[in-house]
Symmetry: C2
Subunit: 333 residues, 2 copies
Amino acid sequence: MANTQARPTLADVAARAGVSKSLVSLVMRGEPGAGTDTRRRVREAADELGYQPDSRARLLRSGRSRLLGVVFGIQHAFHVDLVTALYTAARDRGYELALSAVTPDRDEAEATAGLLQDRCEALIMLGPQTPAPALAQIATRLPVVVLARGVRGLDVIRTADADGLHQAVDHLALLGHQRIAHIDGGRAPGAADRRRGYREAMHAHGLRRHVQVVPGGLTETDGATAAHTLLDDNEPPTAVTVFNDRCATGVLDVLARAGARVPDQISVVGFDDSHLARLAHINLTTIAQDVPAMTELAVARAVDRINGVAVAHPTSVVAPHLVVRGTTGPPPA
Amino acid sequence: MANTQARPTLADVAARAGVSKSLVSLVMRGEPGAGTDTRRRVREAADELGYQPDSRARLLRSGRSRLLGVVFGIQHAFHVDLVTALYTAARDRGYELALSAVTPDRDEAEATAGLLQDRCEALIMLGPQTPAPALAQIATRLPVVVLARGVRGLDVIRTADADGLHQAVDHLALLGHQRIAHIDGGRAPGAADRRRGYREAMHAHGLRRHVQVVPGGLTETDGATAAHTLLDDNEPPTAVTVFNDRCATGVLDVLARAGARVPDQISVVGFDDSHLARLAHINLTTIAQDVPAMTELAVARAVDRINGVAVAHPTSVVAPHLVVRGTTGPPPA
DNA sequence: GTGAAAGCGCTAACAT
DNA sequence: ATGTTAGCGCTTTCAC
C-alpha cells in the first residue's frame, strides 16, 4: 500500500536497455530514428521497470504543455455537457484539458490562477462572470476563448440566443398559442439576448400585447418561483419559454404539483438541450445549443491563437435548433 | 490579443529587483530568510512584470507536486458535491486538486492515466468502477484513496450505508408507516449495503412481510421507471426509501404527474443530501452523507500515506444522518 | 541576510 | 542509427 520505491527515470531505462537516454526518449515518443531491435529492447526495459515519462520535465524542456485550461461552474448542468464535449474536441487536436472548477467556495479568480501556474497554452472560460477588463488583462498573457458569453474584443464562441427564442416562439405560435410568456435569466450570460429574441418574435407574430416577461434565473429554484408567479395570474399564459433547461425543470415541477397538465393546459420550452432535457420523464421541448460545434470551434480557436494563426472574426456565432419533445402541444380549447 | 511576449522568469525578476534568484525564490514562497526591504522590492518587481512561478519547474526541482489527483463522474450530482468540498479540504492542507473527469466518452482508465503522468502524489477516486485488482495495481505506484465504495485492502472512506437506511425506516415507522418499499441502486457502489440495511430495519420493526425491493438505479430515469412500477401495484406502499436523491427526483416527478400527493398519499426518502435534495421545490427528506467529514478524511488519509504515516484502519466509516424535509409525513388514514 | 552553483528528468541540437 | 552536451525554470545546498 506504500509506494516506497522511487519512480524509474529515463536514465534507468537507458541503463537497463544498454543505450543512451536520447534513444529511449525517441522510442517513448514514437519518433523515427531508432533501429527496430533497439526499439524492442527499450520497450521491454521500460515495461519491466514500469517506467512512465514525467510530463512535467518533458513539458518544461520542450517549452510546451499541450494543455488547455478550462474554467467552469461545476454546478451547471450545461457546463458539464460542454466539458464532456471539450475533452473529445481537445483530444482530437492533440491537447489535454486541465480542469479548474468554480464552486461556491472557490471563485473564478482562484480557479484561473491555478491554470496560469500550470502553464496552460490557452484558457477556455465557460460563461465567465469576471468583468471584461479583467478578462482582457488575462488575455494579454495567453489566448483566452470565452464560451457562452459575449465579451467585446475577446475570442468568443456563442449561440445565436435571440434566434433560438425566435424558433421557440415560432413553434408555439404555429401550434396556435397567443399568450406566450418568457421566464428570463436575469443577468445571466445570454439572458438579455434571449429576452430580446422573445420580444422580437412576439412582435413579428402580432402578439405584442401578450408579451409577458417574468423574472427568473438559472436554477431550478428560480424556475419554481417564476412558476408560482404565473399560476397566481388571473389569466395565465398557455405557453412559456424558459431561460434554460435547468430553470424549466423547476417550472415543470411546480406545474405538476399544482395539477396543471403539460402540455394540455400549458406548454413549456427550455433552452440548452442539456442532459436534463433528454431524461425520459422530463422529455422537454427545448432549443438545443450545438455543443459539438461550439466546443470544436472553441478548441480550434484556442489552437489557432496558440499557433499565431490570423483570425478573421473574433466572435463565432453558432445556430441553435428546436428539438420538439413532449412538453409542447396545441393550446387548450 | 496575441501573447507575443515570453513569460517572465525568476531570473527576470531577480535582475529587475537587483538581487539573486535565491532571494526571489524565498520571497515568492513566503519563506523566512529575506530582509523586509528586499522582500518589498522583490514583490514590486514581480508585480510589475506580472511574474507567475512555473509550477512544473518548481515541482520538478522540489520533487513534489503537492497535487492530489481526483477521478470523478462529472454527471453525478453527489460527486460534484464531493469535489466542491475536496477543493476546500485540500487547500486547508496545502494541496491542490488535479481534476480528471469520467464522461460517457472518457473512461476511468483514461481519466486515471492522465493523472499518473502529472505526478500527482496521491489519487482520490470517487465511486470508481475499476475492478479491485486494477485499483490495487495502481496503488502499488502511489497512494490511492477510494471514496464511496468499499474495496478490500485499499484505503476507503465511506458512509455507513446500512445505518442510513435504518434511520430512514425508523423515521417512517415512527410516523406510522408499514408498507415501506425500497427502490434500490442495482450494482451501484453502496447499493448492496443500503438494500441490506433496509431489510434489517424492516425486520427489526416487525415489518418483514411488507419488505418490497423495486429495481432502480442511480439516475432520474431509473427512479421514474421504478415509480411507474409502484403505481401499477394493487396495494402500493405508503412510503418509499430511494437509493439516492437523483433517483428520488425521478420518483417524485412521476408521482406528481400521476396526481399522487407527497407526503399525504406517499412519503419519499432519498439518500446523499446532494444539492438536488435541498432545492426549495424538491425539499426532499433524505439521509445526508457527511460530505465535509468524508472529504477531510480522504484528504487526511492521502496526506498521511504520502508522508508514510502508519494507518491503523484502512477503512473509515462515516455516520450519515436523517434530514427531515417536506416529503415525509404520516401515512394516509 | 544574501549569492553562487548544482541538478530535478527530460528533449533538442549537435556530434559521430 | 546512436551518443554527447546543454539547459528548460526552479529549489536546494553551501558558502559568505
